[in-house]
Amino acid sequence: DAGITQSPRHKVTETGTPVTLRCHQTENHRYMYWYRQDPGHGLRLIHYSYGVKDTDKGEVSDGYSVSRSKTEDFLLTLESATSSQTSVYFCAISALGPRDYGYTFGSGTRLTVV
């Protein structure tokens, strides 16, 4: 999607290994979010950021950490991947919050933990 890219698009990793997913934006938006999407659960918020070095936990933050050292980059790290973290991960950005603008989502990262 224009203005926001996620990498990698697909990843297979082994249980217990660390994994980092990257979200990069060129819109200079203040707010960035990481969601996971699973069948039957919809999109669930993992962590979000409201500025450089300002982050907070979402609904399903256990086992995940994030960092935002630059406005344009928001990293999601799985310190020790587990099979329950197999999912599709979406990054989203927002200017002043979703009012009238909605979120802009990336294309997602499909992560498989074996």
């Binding site: 999607d1 707010y31 979010y33 969601y35 039957g40 659960h41 919809g42 999109l43 669930r44 918020l45 979000y48 409201y50 907070d56 979402g58 609904e59 979406f90 989203a92 927002s94 919050g97 979703p98 009012r99 009238d100 603008y101 909605g102 979120y103 802009t104 989502f105 990336g106 294309s107 997602g108």
Partner: protein, 112 residues
């Protein structure tokens, strides 16, 4: 706890057959209700934001309405290209701002 329930889970329509998707919600003060469209293998795409009961918004064949307990996405004379999963989300006015709580979606298939 904010909750969003969408129904039906899946809907198959013939081209031109109008219908509605439902989004029921409970939230501690509604700041906004959002509709998104998601195509397979892609991220959700923003459609509408509704802020207060009675509000309506339209975009091509789609019309979203809002009451105090639910929102409807009406699809008039759908075409096969309207096939997608439609997601509803709410943002509460209390607590941490900005994040959205999503429903599980309605998968719409429009047959030619």
């Amino acid at each position: 706890e904010d909750q969003v329930t969408q129904s039906p889970e899946a809907l198959r329509l013939q081209e031109g057959e109008s219908s509605s998707l439902n989004c029921s919600y409970t939230v501690s003060g509604l700041r906004g209700l959002f509709w998104y469209r998601q195509d397979p293998g892609k991220g959700p795409e923003f459609l509408f934001t509704l802020y207060s009961a009675g509000e309506e918004k339209e975009k091509e064949r789609l019309k979203a309405t809002l009451t105090k307990k639910e929102s409807f996405l009406h699809i008039t004379a759908p075409k096969p290209e309207d096939s997608a999963t439609y997601l509803c989300a709410v943002q509460a006015s209390s607590g941490s701002a900005r994040q959205l709580t999503f429903g599980s979606g309605t998968q719409l298939t429009v047959l030619p």
